[in-house]
């Protein structure tokens, strides 16, 4: 075991290489596990992976991957804002659904024309998401209620409230589906012909998602607010000692997280369904948690995670055509998240142990400092 770590010691210099190795290892590990599962299920892994590769490179599926990925990415950002401050906003799911209900009703009422309506819809979604999340923030600050508990409960309340709003106030029956009044044509978010070779357009909200990702990075790493947020996340007492109002930070962060959460349903509402109905996508908030973990809260990492997740999700139909059960997709998604966490943890531990060894050796043999290892 020690020999193993000794060799790792030599690799510490290749810190950058290791940083790349972790995700690669995770993917390899995930592929291996999935192959084993496929073999147990009596399916040919190579065939499955070639199908996936085939499917993933067709223009149409690339567009679908992007479109679902946009929603996943916004959701992951909403979750990550909280994560960076050790706030677990499990309520992203309820926040985006309630926001979508209200925004859909506002848009369907068409009080203002065209682009103004789009802006109005987006703003109302952001406001509703922020307010709903603020409840959990205020409960935490003034009543000491854990935000994990309160957001989970608020999810259930949001479901009931949204359903009541649709069935009692906003609902229009089409066949057997109950939904809000459709948003008029002039207030549809235009698609972007980003990928050649298919008539399907990329959802216009991809621009919003990219801007949000950049804003997330800038705010967290380049502003005083971001510094205070990260500081509070690392050590609350240290933050207090250096003059950060933790109470204020908790409420503001929850509100930010909820505001972003409000946007999750917008690509679907303004770019695809144009109404909130019983068919509106659910559980996006929980997917966001998985992707935030997968992307380790980094804006680029989460983008890659969102696309990977979305690609796997969308290939479910194609795999079923090969008689591969759709559950294999969920297994893959789960295994990827676990592998990433484990791979990073392993690399992290190797590094710590390696560091200890290096220091220990330097202390034990101070006579020979000009060794290559010392120059890390």
């Amino acid at each position: 075991m020690s020999g193993f770590l000794d060799r790792m010691l030599g690799r510490v210099r290749l810190g950058g290489w290791l940083a790349v190795a972790a995700p690669v290892l995770a993917v390899v590990f995930a592929v291996l596990i999935t192959s084993v599962v496929l073999l147990i299920a009596g399916k040919e892994p190579v065939e499955a992976f070639t199908t996936l590769a085939d499917y993933g490179t067709q223009p149409r599926s690339m567009v679908m991957t992007l479109n679902t990925g946009v929603m996943y990415y916004i959701s992951a950002l909403a979750v990550a804002v909280g994560f960076r401050m050790n706030l677990f906003n499990i309520g992203v799911d309820g926040q985006y659904r309630l926001a979508a209900v209200v925004a859909a009703a506002v848009g369907g009422a068409a009080v203002v024309p065209g682009v103004l309506n789009i802006v109005l819809v987006v703003v109302s979604a952001v406001v509703v998401g922020a307010l709903w999340a603020a409840i959990a923030g205020l409960l935490r600050v003034y009543r000491g209620v854990s935000e994990v508990i309160s957001t989970i409960m608020l999810n259930a309340i949001a479901t009931g409230l949204g359903s009541w709003l649709v069935s009692e106030h906003f609902g229009v029956l089409t066949g057997n589906d109950l939904g809000t009044r459709p948003i008029p044509d002039d207030a549809h978010m235009p698609g972007i012909p980003l990928i050649a070779g298919t008539p399907v357009l990329v959802n216009g909200f991809i621009v919003v998602a990219v801007l949000l990702g950049v804003a997330y990075w800038v705010v967290l790493t380049r502003t005083r607010f971001g510094f205070e947020l990260r500081a509070t996340g690392k050590s609350e007492s240290a933050a207090v000692a250096s003059g950060v109002s933790v109470k204020k930070m908790i409420v503001v962060t929850m509100v930010m997280s909820g505001a972003i959460a409000g946007l999750i349903g917008m690509p679907e509402l303004l770019g695809a369904s144009y109404k909130y109905s019983n068919n509106f996508p659910t559980d996006l908030g929980f997917t966001g948690i998985a992707i935030a973990l997968l992307g380790r809260n980094s804006p680029v990492g989460m983008a890659i995670g969102a696309l990977l997740w979305s690609f796997l999700y969308n290939s479910s139909n194609q795999l079923q055509l090969l008689d591969i059960p759709k559950e294999i997709v969920q297994i893959m998604q789960g295994v990827v998240v676990l592998s990433v966490i484990i791979a990073y943890e392993l690399v992290h531990r190797y590094r710590m142990v390696a560091e200890q060894r290096r220091v220990g050796r330097q202390l034990a043999a101070p006579a020979e400092p000009p060794k290559a290892e010392a120059a890390v």
Binding site: M8, F49, Y55, T57, Q58, L178, F280, Y313, Q320
Partner: protein, 356 residues
């Protein structure tokens, strides 16, 4: 040794990446769009050998209820009409884009006809059917999707529910009955409305308790026996002695509660007292409201093989034998003449059953 292991790992990884990349390049030319591919798949009106594509609602084959009924019709067509089948299942929480893609993959893969199970496919069928004018589509439980190549298979659930409502009222000794709905959606409201009307036709002052297990978009109420059990238990505790469930997979919980309370329950969709899966509860299931999705699916496929598919809605009501009540177990034999009387009145138009 580690160095070796690591380099081996690196080599495997690289190999894998290259392989994936190569495969990716190979697949790039496969870019058919719906509109053009649709034209190539001419309708196989010749009968046997037709490739049937079927897209399930959430729950899929094996839900012991609605999807299974569709599967039964499909299986019958496979054995009797010699058609080929391909079944695709839905995932929870998906958008219309995924549903469209499912139908498109089927139509594009030469499957004709394509059957969509459940009203959730309404928008996607309407859209994809336009892209494939030569493929016949059918959708169960929806009449909002309209097109020259779309057949809407509709059911008069309220009529069947009226009959079991009458049965419940006739069988109830306490004058107190219950309704458990899976999810609070308009489709299930039809079951409730019919049940209520039937019960009140027998006994105008009967007490009817009603509960839905979940609110949309949470469709968990169609697959959560624990919730069904709690709801039904509450009703039996509050004095009900017959409970009707329209709750898909959650129905098992309602039966369990009925058994524990030594009371009665009414099944839905299939003749549930006759299902092996519910053998434990056949003593408490006095009757079931049968919704013959299997018959509708089979009829549609049969019409397809003989080239007589009719676009637009076909309503499977009491008159057409599309909905009915079951008598398995003989628990309602004594009141059968009365129920049949109501049945004839509905068929004859003397009674018109409300839908909400």
């Amino acid at each position: 040794m580690l160095r070796n292991r690591v380099s081996k790992l690196a080599a495997t990884t690289m190999g894998g990446v290259l392989l994936m990349a190569a495969a990716a390049c190979g697949g790039g030319d496969d870019t058919t769009t719906g509109a053009t591919a649709g034209a190539s798949s001419a309708p196989a009106e010749a009968g046997g050998g037709a490739k049937v594509g079927l897209a399930y609602d959430i729950g899929g084959r094996g839900d012991g209820s609605f999807n299974d009924a569709a599967a039964k019709g499909l299986d019958q067509a496979v054995s009797e009409l010699k058609v080929e089948k391909k079944e695709l299942e839905a995932t929870a929480g998906e958008t219309d884009a995924q549903k469209e893609e499912r139908l498109r993959l089927l139509a594009n893969g030469g499957y004709n006809p394509v059957i969509a199970v459940g009203f959730a496919y309404s928008g996607s069928v309407a859209k994809v059917a336009k892209e494939f004018p030569d493929v016949k589509f059918a959708i169960v439980d929806d009449d909002a999707a309209k097109g020259d190549n779309i057949s809407n298979l509709m059911f008069a659930e309220e009529q069947g529910s009226f009959l079991v409502g009458a049965a419940a009222a006739l069988k109830s000794e306490k004058g107190n009955i219950g309704f458990v709905g899976g999810v609070d959606v308009p489709l299930i409201h039809k079951f409730e409305a019919g049940f209520e009307a039937g019960a009140k036709a027998v006994k105008p002052d009967i007490k009817i308790q009603s509960k839905y297990l979940t609110q949309p978009p949470d469709f968990g109420g169609f697959g959560d026996p624990a919730k069904g059990k709690t709801a039904a238990q509450g009703m039996y505790d509050a004095g009900a002695d017959v409970v009707y469930q329209a709750a898909g997979g959650s129905g098992a919980g309602v039966f369990e509660a009925a058994k524990a309370a030594k009371a009665s329950a009414i099944g839905v969709d299939s003749d549930q007292a006759a299902l092996p899966a519910y053998a434990d509860f056949k003593d408490v299931i006095i009757t079931s409201m049968i919704k013959k999705v299997d018959v509708a699916v089979f009829d549609f496929l049969k019409n397809f093989t003989t080239g007589t598919v009719k676009p637009g809605p076909t309503v499977y009501d009491l008159k057409a034998g599309g909905v009915d009540y079951s008598t398995t177990g003989g628990k309602i034999d004594d009141i059968k003449p009365k129920i049949d009387e109501y049945k004839q009145k509905i068929i004859g138009g003397e009674i018109s059953v409300p839908t909400s």
